[in-house]
Amino acid sequence: MKDDLQHIEELYRDAIIGQEFEPTVSFKTRISFLLMYLQIRKIFILLLILIGITIGVYFGYSSIINGELHQTNHEAIISNEVSENIAIVEDESNPSFTEDLSVSDIIEMETDAYTVDEKVTKEPAQILDAYLQTGEVSSSDKKYDINTISVMNSKEAYYISVNSSDLNLYESNISPVDIDGIFSKNMDEIEPPIISENTLKKARIFSLSLYGSPSITMAGVKVENGDNKYLNIRKDGESPALSWAVGGDIQIHLKNWFIQTGINYSVYRNNKNYNYNYQLLDSANSYFNYDTVWVWIYDPPNLEYPVMVGIDTTWVPVYKDINVYNRGTNQWSYLEIPILVGYQFNYRKFDFEIATGISIGFLMNYSGSLPHFPDVEGMDNIDKLDNNINRTMYNYLLQLGMIYNFSKKWSILTQPYFKQNLQSVFDNKYPVNQRFSAVGLNVGLRVRF
């Protein structure tokens, strides 16, 4: 029995030797992604940290901006419009009023009142009207401890609130008529949107763009040791091709400057139309040419065969002409992460920008064929060069942009760009240096937040 059980172990050990397994397509894909991830792991982690920091900064900055924006709106109102009122008050020779009022005082007072206004159930205009008519504030209105002056506009209403006790309005000698003059004059003159779009736009430091891009790509080829035959065939047979990219960018705006990063899938293609001949040795038809036949005759006594023959021949190789006709498209696809620095300025509803930087590309896919190097005898699938292909690619990027802002948040962008591979698609061990350059146009949508 023991022997049998022992035997089973041996049989099993023998059975597992020489088992063959083919990786499934799904496994191949996943291992490719794993290997790709190992290449970009550090960048990926760095990006995650950057995104984390960015989100942190964004929320921190937003809360600051909200506070500043609140203050800025009041400053804009007070400085642009109320200061005029103060000047008018000065003309009306009301020292008690003007002495007490500086712009900062008014801001402070207004801010106080602003919060109180929300509790006011009676329309501020009604309180003012009552005061203008009677010359005094009714006891019922005094309970609000506020005297509010509204500046009305046909489209939108903005108001300035001034704490009445701080203004010492009741003790002042300003007549209702004066006040009426002060404010009625400005009612017509005040431009409605005091909270400007610029003010709001400054608060939006992030923008996210999604785009698609047709492009023209072209492969520049150089060969070490100046192999002209190969180079000429490549240059004669290849031409620029229509390619494309799709992706998304995020911009972080710091005044007019911005930093841009994102991710995109870029395809580089070049058309090929190779048509060339090469000669291949036709071993079946090659032959020996018998040049000379030498015959030596000996006559030694013990030699059975006294004749020796020497044949002097020449090998005549016969070549056959092979014509290579290959057309189609070679394609290389990369997942790219651009990092750009740019400058942006605004003109009416348009933003114009210029940006430059680099992008790091990770090879995702490639297909096509190239003439065999160095003897150009036939075509090789690019797969054959797999071990000589660079998996990462660095590109130089120059990007212009014209952005049409059709709302405070949304824009349409058009970005012509130029991109140049900074290294060969092949590694240093392969003597062919091939770099793509691309000219394209990103078209897409941008949202600010």
Binding site: I8, Y12, Q19, I31, L34, L35, L38, Q39, D386, N387
Partner: protein
């Protein structure tokens, strides 16, 4: 001069894509076979193998060159497979009623009229617990003490599982033998 393996290893330590790809292609077969012995399905084995490769690439710099590299990576993948097994052990630890010891089986003599595939197939039919112990003991060469530590079971459980696996296998192989003998007749 560096051997091929040393070149691949040093390339992997430098995180070179091509070296990693060569390593994966070179050892896929042996490691996939290993994973299949510890997993219920090919899909699960692929998951384990992928995790195993990740661990190999992340830890390859820890390989100090002593001992066989193949054994080192196999040990990593076995550990990965065991982790996976332990994670799912609540589903796997069950006994098939057919596997209970039948003393008559022990006394029967086995004939070699079955193929390697028959054995592989029958090992795959074992309960997961028995199969893992059987593989760890028979193929990986772990002792019962080590198996007990790895699987967090007692040593006697490991011994029982192994014995159960062998007897169950014998029973299954006897059945095949009987069927084939009858077919010949």
């Amino acid at each position: 001069m560096q051997s091929d393996n040393e070149k691949i290893i040093s390339g992997c330590i430098r995180n070179e894509y091509n070296s990693q790809k060569i390593l994966y292609k070179k050892y896929y077969n042996v490691l996939m076979g290993l994973c299949l012995r510890y997993c219920q399905s090919k899909a699960e084995a692929e998951d384990v193998l992928l995790t195993g490769f990740y661990r190999i690439f992340r830890n390859i710099k820890k390989y100090d060159g002593t001992g066989s590299f193949e054994n080192w990576i196999k040990r990593i993948v076995v550990n990965t497979a065991i982790d996976n097994f332990r994670k799912n052990s609540k589903y796997y630890y069950h006994d098939n009623i057919d596997d209970f010891i039948d003393k008559e089986i022990l006394s029967e003599t086995m004939h070699d009229n079955f193929s390697s595939n028959d054995i592989l197939e029958k090992v795959n039919e074992l309960s997961e617990g028995s199969r893992v112990v059987f593989n760890l003991f028979t193929i990986e060469g772990y002792s019962h003490k080590e198996i007990a530590e790895i699987l967090d079971v007692s040593e006697s459980t490991s011994k029982t599982q192994l014995r159960r696996a062998k007897i169950s296998l014998k029973k299954k192989l006897l059945e095949i033998g009987t069927i084939k003998t009858n077919e010949k007749r």
